[in-house]
């Protein structure tokens, strides 16, 4: 029970972090039809910026400054990069973001080196929040959840209750009509892209020190976020939310479980001889399969329901 509750809490904080990334990706995709390959790179930049500003100004200013910086970079990317290649079609846009991810990783190598940087949890949050049975639950995990939920609420309210939110929603489905009503749709695009990048940056600020800040972090999380978006259904925020929590739980639980088929077989009284050719396959533990799980789930989903959990369109 203790194991279950603690892992559940961990998976919740990880799932919420995934949603911070996938929500921006989904918004950008449904508005511009562009799958942003560099999205996870913005997450990485958020972490590195927070580390750098944290060195001079501490964690709390970094929490605000870093997402703003990443958001500004996102705006520049949209204005001077994506808008230039837009006329060449979606493939060029996609490849542009792909190349950008490549370049950002190299720039990170250039400035911060290849080794992980020492981006730490702030001392003010480095205490035990509560003790569950015998496990001490770190306060920073609670803080991560708080930030994620706060951002989620702000995003929801911003999209449904404000004027600009309504314009964004309208531009999702009827960009021409919105433009005819006198709104600057390209600027709305830029805003959404910047907002999505800033969200990714914020996720980087709070995720970078909880996990690890290194040049490979973008590639590690990037494909998981894609799985989330495909699994939840392209362009659906609700779907992305549910998928984030499911994938988060799947990854966290499967890493923690150290059982194999061999254990199960021996429970029900079947023993596999060590000479058996299939023994290697049976002795793979669940934790060993953890990296494959999300992708397997995605493939299964695509076979059963190609448009994803809550997706409305096929492509």
């Amino acid at each position: 029970m203790e194991f279950f509750l603690v892992t559940l809490l961990n998976s919740l904080s990880y799932g919420l972090l995934l949603f911070m990334l996938s929500s921006g990706l989904t918004l950008i995709f449904s508005m511009m039809g562009v799958l942003n390959f560099a999205h996870a790179s913005f997450y990485m930049l958020g972490a590195y910026f927070a580390y750098q500003t944290g060195l001079h100004a501490g964690f709390w200013p970094a929490l605000f400054l870093s997402p703003l910086l990443v958001g500004a970079l996102g705006a520049l990317t949209e204005r001077f990069g994506l808008r230039t290649v837009h006329k060449f079609g979606h493939v060029a846009e996609l490849l542009f973001t792909f190349g950008l991810a490549y370049v950002i990783e190299e720039i990170v190598h250039l400035i911060w080196g290849r080794a992980p940087v020492d981006y730490r949890i702030p001392a003010g949050l480095d205490f035990t929040l509560f003790t569950l049975y015998t496990t001490q639950y770190p306060a920073y995990r609670g803080f991560m959840m708080l930030v994620s939920v706060g951002m989620l609420a702000a995003l929801y309210l911003g999209l449904t209750r404000t004027r600009i939110g309504l314009v964004i929603q309208a531009s999702l489905t009827h960009p021409d009509m919105v433009e005819a009503l006198g709104h600057n749709v390209p600027r709305v695009f830029m805003l959404v892209f910047a907002g999505g990048a800033a969200l990714a940056g914020l996720a980087g600020v709070i995720g970078g020190n909880a996990f690890i800040t290194e040049p490979g972090m973008a590639a590690a999380v990037g494909s998981i976020v894609f799985v989330v978006v495909v699994f939840g259904g392209m362009g659906s925020l609700t779907g992305a939310f549910i998928a984030s929590l499911i994938i988060g739980a799947l990854q966290t639980f499967s890493v923690a479980l150290d059982y194999s088929m061999l254990d199960l077989l021996s429970k029900i009284g079947i023993s596999v001889s060590p000479q058996s050719a299939w023994r290697g396959l049976w002795s793979i533990t669940i934790s060993q399969t953890a990296p494959v799980m999300p992708y397997l789930l995605m493939v299964l989903m695509l076979i059963v329901r190609p448009r994803g959990l809550m997706g409305t369109r096929e492509s």
Binding site: F29, G33, L35, G81, T84, V85, F88, H90, V91, A92, L94, L95, F96, F98, G99, L100, Y102, V103, E106, I107, H109, L110, I111, G113, A219, S223, F226, V227, V229, V230, M234, G280, L281, I284, Q288, T289, P291, V292, Y295, L296, M298, V299, L302, I303, P306, E314, S315
Partner: protein
């Protein structure tokens, strides 16, 4: 025999002669292994373009078929070595090819149900899945160390043992030529044409009675075959296959190759494969930042010439045929000189940042094309920055000259009816 067919035969014969004579010019060990690498890259990039250029499928997981082909080929070689069965090494790439084809068939069934952006994401997911499984099933994939093999297991047949690199080069060149002909032939078949139709307008392809999903699936299977042939050759060439061969980085690399060369032309990826292989082995000797330059080069191609290098070449074809190319030379050389100044200053800047960050060195000064640069001194930074700004300003100014020369020439050619 009509004129087109005889022209083609002459062309392929010339290509054969070219491949056969290349090692006479580049006979050193380094050049020969690079040529072998290029041959493999050409097959891989062309098979990738069967998906992206011809069927409109942007795949981020094409190295899966290449890598699996390589693994199967390596295991087949090892089985021959252990005396389990006999199979000539010369035909060994076929083992890789059929392995790639099989996985193209199986995985393609899942991936090709969608096109466009979802296909790109799914192919990436599959690539991640296979890469992660490769580290899980250590028996087949050899874990971190990979699978080592021996290409000389077949013994000497007609004096060919595949021990010396030159023999491996001819093996690769032969398979490369066969694959190029095969893939070119596919573009001429009804299937190749339908793939173009599915790329351009799947709905209308459906209306004339073809199933777009099936066309995509077939093309995926065939592309898997040729990628597997390339993988098999890689196993023979390097005599080791690691999990990196089917990793996401390798898949990304082939996207870059095909796109830099130009996906709109059959020949584009060949240019890309040759250029990228050359850059990778040449640049990585001189600078640590070569991946950055490479990525920026890719971005520049996407932003300013999305048709790749092949497109730039075809743009100049009418000019060349009308014998007007010398009209462009002054503008091009002016702009080229300005661009060179800008590029050199930019490279110097990046290299200075790299050397500044390298903390372990006592002196940070380094030689840049014979000029000593010291990133510890401010004057060098200011000097390079000024040079970069000046180069950029000049380059922008000269692009206007180029544009004007180009527009005048186009107008003139249009009057003549050459364009």
């Amino acid at each position: 025999m009509n004129a087109l067919a005889s022209r083609r035969i002459i062309f392929w014969a010339a290509a054969l002669l070219f491949f056969a004579l290349l090692p006479l010019v580049f006979s050193q060990g380094f050049a020969l292994s690079m040529l072998s690498q290029m041959g493999i890259a050409i097959i891989f990039a062309l098979s990738y373009n069967m998906l992206l250029g011809q069927t409109g499928l942007l795949s981020f997981g094409h190295a899966v078929y290449f890598g699996l082909g390589a693994f199967f080929c390596a295991h087949a070689l090892n089985l021959v070595g252990a005396g389990k069965f006999w199979f000539p090494v010369t035909l060994m790439p076929l083992v890789g090819g059929f392995a790639g084809m099989f996985f193209g068939l199986v995985l393609g069934f899942v991936t090709t149900r969608r096109a466009g952006t979802p296909f790109a994401m799914i192919s990436l997911g599959i690539a991640e899945m296979v890469a992660a499984s490769a580290l899980m099933f250590t028996g087949f994939f050899g874990g971190e160390g990979g699978i080592a093999t021996d290409r000389t297991v077949g013994g000497k047949i007609l004096g060919i043992s595949y021990g010396p690199q030159i023999q491996v080069y001819y093996l690769i060149a032969g398979w490369c030529l066969l694959s190029i002909i095969g893939m070119f032939a596919i573009t001429q078949t009804p299937l190749g044409r339908m793939a173009n139709a599915v790329r351009d307008n799947p709905e209308r392809a459906k209306f004339i009675g073809y199933n777009p999903t099936r066309v995509r699936w077939l093309m995926m299977t065939l592309a898997g075959f040729f990628a597997g042939v390339g993988g098999g050759l890689a196993a023979i060439n390097y005599e080791i296959v690691t999990a990196e061969t089917l990793g996401v980085m390798a898949s990304g690399n082939v996207v870059l190759m095909a796109f830099i060369g130009g996906i709109g032309h059959f020949w584009g990826p060949i240019i890309g494969a040759v250029l990228v292989t050359l850059l990778q082995s040449a640049l990585s000797n001189y600078t640590q930042a070569w991946l950055l330059y490479f990525g920026l080069f890719f971005l520049v191609i996407i932003m300013f010439s999305p048709g790749g290098i092949a497109n730039l070449v075809t743009l100049h074809k009418p000019v060349w045929q009308a014998r007007r190319f010398k009209r462009l030379v002054p503008a091009y050389s002016l702009s080229g000189a300005a661009g060179l100044v800008m590029l050199l200053a930019f490279f110097a800047l990046i290299e200075m940042i790299y050397h500044f960050e390298a903390r372990e060195a006592a002196s940070k000064a380094f030689s840049f094309f014979g000029v000593m640069l010291d990133p510890a001194q401010t004057t060098f930074w200011i000097g390079t920055l000024v040079m970069f700004a000046a180069g950029m300003a000049m380059f922008y100014a000269t692009t206007r000259v180029v544009k004007r020369a180009w527009n005048e020439l186009t107008a003139e050619l249009q009057i003549k009816g050459a364009v």
